[in-house]
Symmetry: C2
Subunit: 288 residues, 2 copies
């Protein structure tokens, strides 16, 4: 890296763009190898990993099951992104963007794909009529906060998390840029949660599920090394109140354990959770 860098006229892929994700970043799409995805017995087949975006899907599915929606039973298969599982022909068929989570809905006569965490939340919410208000203005408020999260997460993860924690060189300008934006986003949420129990109003919705997985990890100090100290997370007390409340929901506790080295690498039945130490399902263990 030079301070006097002049970009070439035409960018070429002739060097390693380093960092923790160097092995999985490419300037082209499409599959790198032929491999089918496994298929289990349940209506929903989830192919994912327990990152914040992955947790959105597993929390939603576990929340539906917790609410008694037996039709939301699912198989959660592990996609090891550092091993390139997202570039298999089977995965690319269900998500041409090669990112987790991706899902196949096999509840009807013809299976179909749905990808992107926000789309999966919308699809399940609409299918089962839960966690997404049907009447305005509540629905408009939920959609607004949901899309706010989807459009802002790249500044937190791909921006702040990358440059503060993952990049092979610490670049002051980039860290400042994304620290400022991450703090602003937390302040947006904090002001909203000072006046409202949940993001979209009195009811817990998919906007909360989407935002919680990202903000909860950072608030608890479980993301990006010393980021909670660096970003002064203690300033966001209303976010903390809301994270603490959602932390205790049984569906959330289970959802966070799926496709995770700290819980279940895969999940194929409710009984799978019985293999875990019971304290992990009571929200009293830090770090998962």
């Amino acid at each position: 890296m030079s301070e006097e860098y002049t970009p070439p006229k035409v960018w070429t892929w002739d060097k390693a763009n380093g960092g923790a994700f160097a092995s999985v970043n490419r300037p082209i799409a499409g599959p790198t190898h032929d491999k089918d995805l496994p298929v289990g017995e349940h209506p929903f087949q989830l192919y994912s990993l327990g990152t914040p975006n992955g947790q959105k899907a597993t929390i939603m599915l576990e929340e539906l099951l917790e609410a008694g929606v037996a039709e939301a039973e699912y198989d959660a298969w592990l996609i090891k992104i550092f091993d390139g599982d997202q570039f298999s022909s089977g995965f690319v068929d269900i998500n041409p963007n090669s990112k987790i989570p991706a899902m196949v809905d096999r509840s009807g006569a013809e299976p179909f794909r749905i990808f992107e965490s926000g789309a999966i939340l919308m699809h399940l919410a609409e299918k089962f009529g839960m966690f997404l208000p049907t009447a305005n203005p509540a629905r408009a408020e939920c959609l607004s906060w949901l899309f706010w999260q989807i459009g802002s997460a790249p500044f937190i993860g791909g921006g702040f998390g990358h440059f503060y924690n993952y990049a092979p060189v610490k670049i002051e300008y980039a860290i400042d840029r994304y620290a400022m934006e991450t703090k602003r986003l937390f302040d947006v949420a904090n002001r909203r949660l000072a006046e409202s129990r949940f993001l979209a109003g009195d009811d817990y919705t998919i906007a909360d599920i989407a935002t919680y997985t990202w903000m909860g990890n950072l608030y608890r100090g479980e993301a990006y090394g010393e980021a909670a100290t660096f970003l002064s997370m203690h300033e966001y007390e209303h976010v903390g109140r809301w994270v603490g409340e959602i932390d205790q929901r049984p569906g959330v506790l289970r959802g966070r354990l799926v496709n995770s080295a700290k819980g279940l690498s895969e999940r194929h039945s409710a009984a799978d959770f019985d293999s875990l130490p019971p304290e992990k399902l009571k929200g009293i263990v830090k770090g998962f």
Copy 2:
């Protein structure tokens, strides 16, 4: 900027984070001044600017009007983001995130807000039953591509556009990172559009509107200086075919002219377009 930078333990806002957007980036949310928003006579009040995100809303409204939905009449007010209009008390009331576009739906008994370009597209599509399939798998496909665009645009605009064009210093690592991801995203779209007329299938949907405003500008060479050359946009021929087709839609031509210095700074009636040189509405003028 130093190559040996070590971040402090706690980030503080004690320096200017430079570049074209330095005056509008802050680590806190909320209003900076008291000012109400103007309100016109139509059912939809849009507060926006003709950026790619702003164009999503104006194209959708003009597409609805083009399709004969008279109830989609709107007033489009200009929000000058470099003057800080997005930090007025009135704007923050309708979008606590202080970003354009934001809208008030006054079509019913009680006005309500909706913010974020993706939420505005969903809201209008659901309200009028257009440009969003109601049955699966078409709906799932549309949602997937819509959320794909919303979640990836920050890598193109806030990432590539910023570091390649706007940042006060050229940082090779950051430019490489975001050039690679922007090219990958174009390749995702290119492969999809090689097999499908539109992103979600045979029909033009809000997923196309959302993606077109970002990819169209870059493909045509109208974004971020020499970016089209730098990113070898000519490689994405199927994106080009799709951009060229959407470029000619009357609703798109009009929508791109709203809240723009190259067209109408504000739009309050269909007759407003009559003030423009007619060639601007025929898609034969480059650069708007």
